[in-house]
């Protein structure tokens, strides 16, 4: 029987091979399996670590208030309810806010990526005097935290003026605080959120395209602009999608610029911050509960609100996960 098996396999069995190798094979096999088990445990643990807050939020968001203080209820709600969602939506004015956020994030991401692509392409494919100096400026934009200049930007847009023109015509400076225009202007000038990083990444990508492609296009009579649009851009699709998605997502959750420039528009990121105060006021005024909302219940509503902010992003991530990751790793970021 064993002989037949040996012939069938055409090689000696595991134990025999192990004996021949002096126990090396068995040791290696055991180490291999042990390593795999440890790896599975480790990965499971770390994945759980990352997912746990989201799972926790989901389970809390379906609990009624009495479940929060019930020590028996840990993750599965006893009184299943969707009231929390209704409340959070009411406090955030969810429908309108969501629409605003989508419009603002989309338009700003598009604007930023368009401008950054132009700049990145310029840095990658053209030689011009002072190129190194300007690129050093890009690096500076990456490194300088926007908070450093936030004080003067604040005043800059409070008393906005282009070369004193408005002073001349209207006799006054323009107050741009609280309007969206400053942020769109900044985005058009590559100075939005993390725009230096996008320029850097896009430049890195365009640098790797062979020069022959460009030269062939020139020889065939393509102008600079046409080469850029019809030859370079289609090639750069993956990195552009990647940058666009990042820009969209970071704009969506950004609080710094939103608070500073977009205060008057209801955005998810700014609404989320005031949810607790609204909750308190609502409890006192509408429900006639003196002392406002309890800590636990406020926390529950805030997590529900957070969940409602990130759910659109999670859906986007599910469908466009390749766009986020693969293109970024294929672009080969190096210094």
């Amino acid at each position: 029987m064993t002989k037949q098996k040996k012939i069938l396999e055409g090689q000696p069995g595991f134990w025999e091979r192990n004996r021949k190798s002096g126990g090396y094979l068995l040791k290696k096999r055991i180490l291999d399996i042990a390593y795999k088990i440890i790896r599975v445990l480790l990965l499971f643990g770390m994945c759980f670590l990352i997912l746990q807050p989201i799972l926790m939020k989901i389970s809390i968001s379906f609990m009624a208030e009495e479940d929060l203080y019930n020590a028996m209820v840990i993750s599965i709600p006893e009184h299943f309810t969707t009231d929390n969602y209704k409340l959070a939506a009411q406090f955030m004015d969810y429908g309108k806010t969501l629409f605003n956020t989508i419009v603002v994030s989309l338009s700003i991401a598009l604007l930023q990526i368009t401008v950054c692509t132009l700049a990145g392409y310029g840095f990658a494919r053209f030689d011009f005097p002072l190129k190194k100096f300007w690129f050093a400026c890009v690096i500076m934009v990456i490194i300088i935290p926007p908070q450093t200049i936030s004080t003067s930007l604040h005043l800059h847009f409070r008393y906005f003026d282009v070369f004193g023109l408005s002073q001349l015509i209207r006799g006054d400076t323009i107050n741009l605080r609280g309007s969206v225009l400053p942020y769109y202007l900044m985005s058009a000038g590559c100075m939005g959120l993390k725009n230096g990083l996008y320029i850097f990444m896009i430049r890195q990508f365009f640098r790797n395209i062979p020069k022959e492609l460009e030269e062939a296009a020139y020889v065939d009579g393509c102008g600079t602009l046409k080469t850029f649009i019809s030859i370079m851009l289609p090639d750069a699709k993956p990195i552009l999608t990647s940058c666009f998605l990042f820009s969209f997502v970071w704009q969506w959750t950004d609080s710094f610029y939103s608070k500073m420039f977009l205060g008057n528009i209801k955005l998810l990121s700014t609404q989320l911050a005031v949810i607790a105060d609204r909750m308190d006021a609502w409890m006192v005024n509408t429900m006639k509960v003196s002392g406002g909302a309890s800590v636990g219940y406020t926390n529950c509503i805030v997590s529900t609100g957070t969940l409602m902010v990130i759910i659109p992003l999670l859906i986007l991530y599910l469908f466009a996960q390749k766009g986020f990751v693969e293109s970024l790793s294929s672009s080969g970021i190096k210094m």
């Binding site: 790896r39 490194i143 935290p145 004080t151 003067s152 970021i333």
Partner: protein
Amino acid sequence: MKKQNKVAGLQRRKAISGYLFIAPFIIGFLAFMVKPLFQSLYMSFCTVEVSPAGINNIYTGLSNYVRAFTVDTEFNRLLVEEISRMCINSLAIMVFSFFVALILNQKFKGRALVRAIFFLPVILSSGVILGVEHDNALLASVQSMVEETTNTTSITSAIENILMTSGIGVSAFETVFEIVDGIYDVAIASGIQIIIFLSGLQTIPTNMYEAASIEGCTAWESLWKITFPMISSLFLVNWIYTIVDFCMRSDNEVLEKISEQMIAHINYGFASAMSWIYFVIVIAIIGVSSFIISKGVYYYD
């Protein structure tokens, strides 16, 4: 002669179109970066009075800086805390992300799913969401108090106690415990870094490892002799990115203080002075550390 002119003309045309391509950046940089930067530097030496008519800067020398370091009760403490937190956390993030990238680069079942989960923090750790998580710390502290009174001991705290009683390097242990307790912060902040390391690991040709293992190299040795040098330049990129990212986090206490001074107290001069102090320190840290790291970077080609 004529031909040379043509070449020069082509080069000039390319230079002009190059400038046209980066024109938006130059304009934006001058208008929204250089001007505010100098203005805020100037404001940090002034007392700024804001009135409906305009801004009034009264030059007061170094008084804002003196106030930040000697008069203000919080600033020194916050600064030291934030900077030390930044250094420790950045180191932990580098080690963690390198380690995770090594694991995610191997082949196993469900790798795509695990990768997707590990990159999730790229979305979740940004902006306002992080700030909200930070606020929840209040509730967490209440919870831990409840746990303490009910006398449930966790394994980690038992191990911590045992290690602490040995009495050797207590402060070093405390730092390690802090990182272990804050592993969630580290994991959530290292999404991009993992992607960058992973992209570097994928560019290393596998035949290098094959050659090494035929020569009798163990996996441990080839990690140090092949993997490390090949992606050493990415350590520099990641290090700078991590520090910069840390400076912009919304739960940064120094920045909170600055924006509070600016918005609530309308004290623009003092706020600018504080942000310049913070900025200069961070730039110095980035400069010194990247100089040290760049000494060890190995370029293959």
